[in-house]
């Protein structure tokens, strides 16, 4: 039966005008989406490159001054070696370079800036990660490969599988089939598997052509991307298989399948998001801002005590030159640090509430396979919310280290020399988001597919043939 089925389906598909045109359309969509991803990647990298060059030039100037002074020469810009100048004006660039995989899914990358200058002037709670983007563009989202697979591929699957059984039922051939010694649901499953394999092959070709064109090299992440795509495809074929068995007419099947699509792709993600917001309301940034400002005000009013209090906690920084030896910058650095410490519980409480919301969403993502796919795919692309939260975390902890590093220089009133410049902290973002979440997503999608196929097989002989 299997070989006959394969022969039959191949013949059907090769003569099917819809199938051929849909395949061509799929290739065109993948290429257009890939092109968008590539353009986004290029823009992001170009901007990053320009930012790095700019920063290198700034650091170069400081380096040259230090070199001249180390040779015992005089330099008119020796002020550049002051700790406040290096910590604030020169600063350090925190960067989040794009991975090649980000060409496949733009994700949240259009919302965020990928380079931030770390200076001791920034305070962590109000650090801006905004990229300049048209909000209308943000609302509509990006036409990338993740969009094509999440939204459009299921529609293509529905378009060419919604009537596989009902067509036979409507033409009366199913009755004929059932009278032969075969299990019709198994026969149908085989047809579905063959169609699934055909579409998988076409999509694979389309994805490979796109990947080659836009320059995504073969990697384990790309393979996992293929796997999660296949698992998502399998889910949609499985649901269509079950609807075919349960449904009585082609029109009804298409309505049911489209209703599933709407629920899975449009309604559930929005409802989960809304529910998360209601259960763990996003804390108000406005209130946080208000409290931060209150704290800053209190600290600035008590500027003198701030320095005293700071020195009480850091006796190693006290110099013998007397009380008045410390000026504005020492007070400034000390109050910055005390402010961060005072604000930390506030900011932490805010972050914890957001974390609770995220965890809730994470737990409920299993309700929608579209979310499972999008979540896994954007993580592979390095453009998911998780990646950006991780980057923010890196930036914030680096920012604290940065200030701490310059503290002794500021209190010592010591200019930096060549060796000190070599020992300045370097920023490096290395994502430690493991693939375990993605493997869970893939497993859930596959398990759902198998369960639906088994349920379909279990309904053998229980559905009408008229």
């Amino acid at each position: 039966m299997l070989s006959l089925n394969i022969l039959h389906e191949t013949r059907l598909l090769s003569r099917n005008y819809w199938f051929i045109s849909l395949s061509m359309m799929l290739l065109a969509l993948c290429l257009y989406a890939g092109h968008n991803g590539m353009k986004h990647f290029e823009r992001r990298q170009l901007d990053l490159q320009a930012a790095i060059e700019n920063q290198v030039a700034k650091e170069q100037v400081v380096q040259e001054v230090a070199l001249a002074l180390s040779k015992g020469e005089e330099h008119p810009s020796s002020f550049r070696l002051s700790p406040t100048n290096v910590a604030i004006a020169t600063g350090r660039l925190a960067t989040m370079p794009a991975t090649e995989m980000s060409k496949l899914g733009i994700g949240q990358s259009d919302l965020y800036a990928h380079q931030l200058k770390i200076t001791s002037r920034e305070d962590l709670a109000t650090m801006s990660f905004n990229e300049l983007t048209n909000p209308v563009q943000l609302l509509f989202g990006n036409f990338d490969l993740v969009f094509v697979i999440t939204y459009l591929v299921p529609l293509i699957i529905i378009a060419f599988s919604y009537n596989l059984r009902s067509q036979e039922l409507e033409s009366g051939r199913l009755k004929l089939l059932a009278s032969s010694p075969i299990r019709t649901n198994l026969w149908l499953l085989q047809r579905f598997i063959i169609r699934c394999c055909s579409l998988t092959a076409i999509l694979t070709v389309a994805l490979i052509v796109t990947a080659l064109w836009i320059g995504v090299a073969l990697s384990s992440q790309l393979l996992v991307f293929f796997l999660i795509t296949y698992a998502y495809l399998a889910f949609w074929f499985a649901i269509s298989y079950l609807v075919n068995i349960l449904g009585s007419s082609s029109a009804r099947n298409s309505i049911s399948l489209l209703s599933f699509w709407i629920v899975i792709v449009l309604i559930l993600p929005a409802v989960i998001n809304q529910a998360a917001n209601s259960i763990y309301p996003t804390p108000s940034r406005v209130s946080l801002l208000n409290e931060i400002r209150e704290t800053k005000k209190e600290l600035s009013e008590a500027q003198d005590q701030v320095l005293d209090e700071y020195l009480r906690n850091h006796p190693e920084l006290i110099r013998n030159e007397g009380e008045n030896a410390f000026g504005y910058w020492q007070g400034y650095f000390a109050s910055q640090e005390i402010m961060e410490k005072t604000l930390a519980p506030l900011v932490d409480a805010y972050d914890q509430q957001l974390e609770k919301q995220q965890k809730w969403i994470d737990a409920w993502r299993y309700l929608s396979p579209a979310v499972l796919f999008q979540d896994g795919a954007t993580q592979l692309a390095g453009t998911s919310s998780k990646n950006y939260n991780e980057f923010k975390g890196y930036v914030k902890s680096f920012s604290l280290n940065w200030r701490a590093h310059f503290m002794p220089f500021v209190f010592d009133n010591k200019m930096l020399d060549l060796d000190d410049l070599d020992n300045i902290p370097e920023f490096e973002y290395r994502s430690s988001i493991g693939a375990s979440g993605i493997w869970i997503n893939i497993s859930v999608l596959l398990i759902l597919s198998v369960l639906m196929a088994l349920r379909g097989l279990g309904l053998e002989g229980k559905r009408q043939l008229l």
């Binding site: 909000p135 563009q137 609302l139 989202g141 998001n273």
Partner: protein
């Protein structure tokens, strides 16, 4: 006329017998209810927080104590974008535009805290708002409801029967359209009544003016949009040979108009008119402030020219002989130059936004979904024009505040004495608090004339189409 009513009655009866349709209808009503309720709760919360914070900020400004006006200008204040009452209906761009901005001398700070950054990636699937249900989901229900309106009559032969009894094609078509309109009216009535009540109850102390006319037009726009979907669905059913064909055609149209086209247009507009990055934008401003807009007039040259101008104008030898504190004047001159630089660069960005959005407006001529979406956001006060208006008002307020501080410094302090002069509450009180009022009804609609025209043209076009097809209707199947 009675035939038309009979047909409408029969269609309604059939629709209510379809379990799937009734089920989907209930889901849509529940979703509308939930989204309206959740929108209202979030609106109330936000409003309370913003009102409280605005009051706090006002008190903070008034009670900042005696200090030099320039220090007060740096101390500055914050402005917050209030949620409009109709934003509970259409969230629009609220998740993607910043909510707070710090106002101080010398610098235009960017708007902080886009709510989308505090959400998971799931927000990119869209938010559950009433407008999403009405714009995206309800058309699907209409499609499911009406795809077989004609094909069923053709397939079962009842169309032939009806026409042989002298029922005109016009009566059949409009009877069906009337039936679907009544079904939608029954479904949506509670929702719109709820919306009107909420809008009415909160209209007086909201940042959105003309809430009544906005709500009325909003309901009209959606009525037109849904009417268009109904007429197109009935027309396609009339033109199709089988129900399956009609359904597939309608679903293809839906996918294209609602999912594919808006996203493609937005992406194409971004490719045609690329924006600079935030870094380039800020670097451009810094560079122009440093070396002048022409790249050849650094700050020191500009200041020297200003000094010479004042010395010559007042015929004195030194700045300290001027009858006012020159530092206040130079501060304001620096401020004015900074404003000019900012305007120059930001207008560039606005021009690109506008070109990008223009493409969306043009696309709305071909796609009533895009037209409805734009109009809905505009009337709800959640579109880009309202946000730009908010930004302009905030910036104007900031400039007024800084100017007043600089003028006070020029009038009341002496040249070279910075720490000796301190202003007090009297000066702080001269600066009113910042309370935002969104643009008026007509101002809000003005940029969307193409969208309005599009909807009207579509109504005329579909009525014409139906009239023509009614004349040519043949009661045969296949």
């Amino acid at each position: 006329m009675s035939a038309l009513l009979h047909i409408a009655k029969k269609e309604i009866r059939i629709a209510f017998r379809e379990r799937l349709i009734v089920f989907l209808g209930i889901i849509i009503m529940v979703l509308l209810g939930i989204s309206l309720f959740a929108g209202f709760v979030s609106y109330e919360q936000q409003k309370e927080i913003i009102t409280k914070t605005e009051n706090d900020k006002r008190q903070e400004w008034l009670n900042q104590g005696d200090k030099h006006p320039h220090i007060a200008a740096h101390y500055g204040t914050f402005a917050f974008k209030p949620k409009t009452v109709l934003s509970l209906f259409d969230f629009g761009l609220d998740a993607y535009t910043g909510t707070s901005v710090y106002l101080e001398a010398h610098n235009q700070h960017e708007f902080m805290f886009r709510p989308a950054q505090d959400h998971s990636s799931m927000i990119r699937f869209g938010e559950l708002s009433s407008s999403l249900v009405l714009q995206v989901l309800l058309p699907l229900l209409i499609i499911f409801l009406s795809f077989s309106s004609y094909t069923k009559e053709k397939e079962s032969g009842t169309l032939k029967l009806l026409m042989s009894q002298g029922v005109s094609a016009n009566a059949i078509t409009w009877g069906k359209i009337l039936a679907y309109c009544i079904i939608l009216l029954i479904m949506l009535m509670p929702f719109f009544v709820g919306l009107i009540l909420i809008a009415n109850a909160t209209a007086n102390n909201d940042s959105l003016p003309d809430v009544a006319s906005r709500t009325a037009l909003l309901i009209t726009i959606y009525a037109i949009y849904l009417f268009l979907v109904i007429t197109i669905a009935v027309w396609i059913s009339m033109k199709s040979l089988t129900g399956r064909n009609a359904l597939l055609t309608l679903l293809t149209f839906w996918t294209f108009f609602v999912i594919l086209m808006p996203k493609t247009v937005a992406n194409l507009s971004e490719s045609f008119y690329p924006l600079p990055s935030m870094r380039e934008f800020k670097a451009g401003i810094e560079e122009s402030k440093l070396n002048g807009l022409d790249g050849q007039t650094p700050r020191s040259v500009r200041m020297a020219e200003l000094e010479t101008e004042y010395l010559e104008k007042y015929k004195v030898d030194s700045l300290s002989q001027l009858p006012f504190n020159f530092e206040g004047v130079s501060m304001q001159a620096g401020e004015d130059y900074g404003n000019m630089v900012y305007d120059h660069h930001y207008e560039g960005i606005r021009a690109i936004f506008s070109k990008q959005n223009r493409l969306g407006s043009i696309a709305s001529i071909f796609n009533p979904f895009i037209a409805t979406q734009h109009l809905s956001m505009s009337l709800s006060g959640t579109d880009l024009h309202t946000f730009n208006h908010f930004e302009n008002e905030v910036e104007e307020y900031r400039r007024m505040l800084v100017r007043r501080m600089n003028n006070d410094m020029a009038e009341n302090s002496k040249y070279g004495e910075f720490y000796e002069y301190a202003a007090g509450e009297e000066l702080w009180e001269e600066i009113d608090g910042f309370y935002y009022t969104a643009p008026t009804f007509f101002f809000a609609l003005r940029p969307y004339y193409l969208e309005l025209l599009s909807l009207l043209a579509w109504v005329v076009f579909t009525i014409f189409l139906l009239k023509r097809s009614n004349k040519k209707l043949k009661p045969i199947h296949g």
